[in-house]
Symmetry: C2
Amino acid sequence: MKMTTKGRYGLRAMVELARYYEKEEFISLKSISQKQGIPENYLERLLAKLRKASLVETHRGTQGGYRISRSPEEINVYDILFAVGEAIYLVECTNNKSLCHMQDYCPSNVVWSKMAQQIEDVAKKTYLDELI
Amino acid sequence: MKMTTKGRYGLRAMVELARYYEKEEFISLKSISQKQGIPENYLERLLAKLRKASLVETHRGTQGGYRISRSPEEINVYDILFAVGEAIYLVECTNNKSLCHMQDYCPSNVVWSKMAQQIEDVAKKTYLDELI
DNA sequence: CCTATACCCAATTGAATTAGTAGGGAATTA
DNA sequence: TAATTCCCTACTAATTCAATTGGGTATAGG
Ligand code: FES
Ligand code: FES
């Protein structure tokens, strides 16, 4: 039961960007990738998703880069996980009932769903400004 | 972020066994594996771990099999996950600080730890008797 | 206008972990 | 003594995740 790099790297990148919110300057991919020790091209794809979700904005060319597009107070961890495509369920059955071995009611699923719900709650309650 | 089959199968097997607690009879591996749709040889390994953790007891030969060794009221989901070796942390860093990219303090880790704690709480609060 | 910068994007490969299989052994009962 | 059923280790297959490759396009500055 582990978070994938999508979620891990995604949050770390956003925390990094959130630090520069006030300055309004763009931070290059290279800079983020070096500071956070994340492969450049891999991180690039995550930032692309974050951009499509309007959590960051970009600017090309010299002095270009990425910056957070809203105040850190308005972005929570759930937004980030959702944007990068980190799934928040613990067993497939929770999402896709047809995959479940028990057709009608699965006792185990009660537990897995409850856990997933808790995770989601933490993610939704935690905003970026609390992390910097 | 998914639970592995260790946890999934493990809990399902235990729920199955818990149903027969009153009868005190042994249930064969074959029977559990068929009812739950879990590969026999794979499940066997999980049951071996559950036995080593004293959550189930076994008997060989004809009419032999597995049975739960304590009342379902006394076994919680955490016991089971721990026994089968399902890790309850979401990022490696939470367990092994030396793997963490940020030496002293990692903002992200605050979130991952909190989530893991929630999962652990649910696991510890949920007893088998509530699931049957 | 031209060049360096830096984001943009798809496809592929590589690595790691997980899931499942195979097969021989030992205890118990009828 | 034969059938049953747990016991145990090693191996293989499958899947998923992580990372790389390599080319493209917009922008700014000289
Ligand atoms: S078999 Fe699907 S959650 Fe139980
Ligand atoms: S890098 Fe280890 S939890 Fe942040």
